[in-house]
């Protein structure tokens, strides 16, 4: 190739490159206008409750000039997707979260809109919610979230028919549970269904046993940075009890291959192949969607059994306090967003949530309980939460998000025996607490 010919070509290359770059820059500008298309984008965790959110959006869009668009992200990937887009032009205007630790990093980065102004104009945005729940989304003294689903205590669900056939009563204490496990095993069913493939269902057993045995203080201490809490005798006792339960075959052998999120463990209970499943209160609506006949006839539920001699109050619950809508500072339609959030304490919202078995935490909840689609279930949850001295937020939501992957690994490895007690304690101590 001749040298002379090279120079013009190089120039041409440079020019084309510059052109292409400016083109792609234009593209960025266009793509970034997602918040500017005259609509409010609401990002929600995708599951069975979405039908209520869709109804509310439809109601809102009937009267509002600014339309709301509901974007759902399938459950397992929600947090990754959110963290990836939240500081980009593709970020939504309003998004679903778990309050507390899950929004703290976003508040610190100055991405969220404090809701004081909304509340000043319309005090109902605060007054219509139970304070203990509303306060879970207060960060550094300012409110950043409006409760938008129901409270989700974790309950021990069971298949009434399976328990009857094995001659088992729903257990009130840990010993009764162990006894029930033995009887169910003799019947040839898996005593407790567990979606170990998702790992967070496994973690629920840790949350409750630690709370029953040591009280909520142990976990608060560890989360506060005092990692010696994990080495305490109470911690070891909780781990021993988990070990014992796993080793007696309470979960069968293949729990790590079963998932909750693809309906595997749900079907196990519905089909009568397992007796119990420990799951958040959303389990009821999941069963109602997947296996309506079973849910109406044979789905039973109790609180987590008491542990004799435990230091924790045996009426405590663990789970998710509620979910919240938080608002991005960059939203172009704050007035419309404020209007939309009003729906979260409307009668329509409360009724629709209750119809699918969720329990809203608004002040008008109580008067709708008896007329809800599932009055007994709603009443049970409401009393359980109202009477609980402490509500332990799910471990992986209480810790910073970045700790959740390592926490899940430790939980799974302790359950399947890859980690012993000391190994688990070390793994928990290695988690970042801030």
């Amino acid at each position: 190739m001749k040298t002379r010919a090279r120079l013009p070509r190089l120039v041409a290359t440079g020019a084309t490159l510059a052109l292409a770059l400016s083109l792609s820059a234009c593209g960025d500008g266009d793509g970034g206008a997602s918040g500017d298309d005259g609509k409010i984008h609401v990002l929600v965790y995708g599951d069975a409750t979405n039908k209520v959110e869709k109804q509310l959006v439809d109601t809102f869009n009937k009267t509002s000039d600014v339309k709301v668009v509901l974007d759902t992200i399938p459950g397992a990937d929600y947090q990754q997707k959110l963290q990836t887009i939240i500081n980009t032009p593709q970020a939504p205007d309003v998004f679903f979260n778990w309050g507390g630790g899950s929004i703290k990093p976003f508040v610190k980065a100055g991405l969220l809109l404090p809701l004081d102004d909304f509340i000043k104009k319309n005090p109902d945005l605060e007054n219509k919610f139970l304070p203990s729940v509303f306060n879970n989304a207060v960060v550094d003294g300012k409110p950043y979230g409006v409760p938008m689903r129901g409270t989700q205590p974790v309950l021990l669900f069971h298949n009434k028919k399976v328990l009857d056939e094995a001659g088992v009563e729903p257990p009130k204490t840990w010993d009764e549970l162990l006894d029930a496990v033995g009887k169910l095993k003799d019947e040839g069913v898996t005593p407790i269904a567990l979606g170990g493939g998702d790992v967070w269902p496994t973690q629920m057993w840790f949350q409750y046993l630690y709370d029953r045995i040591a009280g909520p203080e142990l976990f608060q201490k560890a989360l506060g940075g005092d990692k010696s809490a994990w080495e305490s005798p109470d911690s070891k006792k909780a781990l021993d009890m988990i070990r014992e339960l796993v080793d007696t075959g309470a979960f069968g052998k293949n729990y790590d291959s079963v998932k909750y999120t693809n309906g595997g463990s749900v079907q196990l209970v519905a089909a009568g192949k397992a007796g119990f499943e420990l799951m958040g209160s959303w389990y009821y609506s999941q069963q109602l969607t997947d296996h309506p006949e079973f849910a109406e006839k044979d789905l039973g539920y109790t609180a987590f059994p008491a542990v004799e001699g435990g230091k924790g109050d045996q009426a405590n619950v663990a789970g998710n306090t509620n979910n919240y809508y938080s608002v991005m500072k960059k939203t172009k339609h704050p007035e419309a967003v404020a209007e939309f959030l009003k729906l979260m304490y409307s009668d329509q919202f409360v009724k629709a949530q209750m119809d699918i078995g969720n329990l809203p935490t608004t002040t008008n909840t109580d008067k709708f309980i008896e007329t809800s689609g599932t009055p007994e279930y709603s009443r049970f949850q409401y009393d359980l939460v109202a009477d609980a001295p402490s509500f332990q937020l799910s471990w992986d939501q209480a810790y910073p998000q970045k700790a959740s992957s390592d926490m899940h690994k430790a939980v799974q490895q302790f359950f399947n025996g890859q980690l012993d007690t000391d190994g688990f304690i070390k793994a928990m101590q290695a988690l970042p607490t801030e």
Binding site: R9, Q80, V199, G252, S257, V258, K402, Q412
Partner: protein, 305 residues
């Protein structure tokens, strides 16, 4: 065609052919620069920073790298990656050679079966993984109906079986692609070779081992490089089928990168793993190219005509 490949031209004569200038490569080069080189440079820079995706990134020198070197999970992930890649090559190569040579025949039934067999390749790896995860559910899937083979069906709960599932699923999906490569190559083998062998009294198997296999050498190298690079960058199957579990037992390097960056929100370390993967894949491909003599591009039909 044959004559062009076989006659060894003197190097100087190549310039007289009038090959197109650099301008012809420009669109591809630009595309590559924008979407591969630029991001790669950014990843390299990011690997020396600490960034959680929200607050501004900070330079931390070689912190990410030195932590990775001491990380037992990282070390394990490299071995797992190599193991999965090797399993992929060992399982897929013989299968696809046999299938490819078989499919090279022009019979109608072979054409029909080839088309059916080709279908898995048309599905996305994600869809394939979701499908197999559902099919392998221990209580309601295949293992429940074939307990004699799967025992308690805890395929995803133990390292050996979890790796087995991963290797099987990628074999199921990608063998058709490599079959296609071998089918094409087998059809390009000059018939005269077989005719001559037949006259010399060589049977079917001798023909296969002494003509077909040697003639497929270049196709084999192509397919193996693709398998190795594909194996080193496997990701979706692990994400959907095992999520690196149980524990970290199937956490291959590409998944560990995702785990660090998008679950642990430590994009710096994630970038460092990504860069290490790029370097490793490049080196391995180079070695394969060198060792196999692929770079010399010798024709396989020398002396035929």
């Amino acid at each position: 065609m044959t004559t062009q490949i076989t006659s060894a031209r003197p190097a100087s004569s190549a310039t007289t052919v009038g090959r197109p200038g650099f301008a012809w490569a420009l669109p591809a080069a630009l595309f590559f620069a924008l979407f591969a080189i630029v991001p790669l440079i950014m990843v390299a820079v990011l690997s020396f920073m600490s960034w959680d995706g929200i607050s501004p990134p900070r330079f931390t020198g070689t912190d990410n790298w030195s932590r990775l070197l001491d990380d037992p999970v990282m070390l394990k992930s490299i071995w797992l990656t190599l193991l999965l890649t090797a399993l992929g090559v060992l399982l897929q190569t013989p299968l696809s050679i046999v299938l490819g040579v078989w499919a090279a025949g022009h019979q109608r039934n072979r054409a029909v079966l080839s088309v059916i067999y080709f279908i898995p390749l048309l599905l996305s790896a994600t869809a394939v993984s979701v499908l197999w995860r559902a099919l392998l559910d221990p209580n309601f899937g295949i293992p429940a109906d074939a307990a004699w083979l799967f025992g308690d069906g805890n395929l995803f709960g133990e390292q050996a079986t979890a790796i087995g599932v991963l290797a099987f699923v990628s074999t199921w999906q990608f063998t058709p692609f490599h079959t296609l490569i071998y089918q094409g190559a087998a059809r390009a083998i000059p018939q005269v070779l077989y005719q001559a062998a037949e006259i010399d009294g060589a049977g079917r198997y001798r023909q296969f081992f002494h003509i077909t296999l040697p003639q497929l050498r270049n196709a084999m190298i192509t397919s193996m490089i693709l398998m190795i690079v594909g194996g080193l960058t496997t990701f979706e199957t692990v994400l959907i089928l095992t999520q690196g579990g149980p524990g970290t037992d199937t956490t291959i390097s590409a998944y560990y990168m995702y785990d660090k960056a998008f679950k642990g929100f430590d994009y710096g370390t994630g970038s460092a793993i990504a860069l290490a993967l790029v370097v490793a894949s490049t080196i391995i491909s180079l070695i394969v190219v060198r060792v196999s003599g692929y770079d010399k591009m010798r024709g396989s039909a020398e002396g035929v005509s």
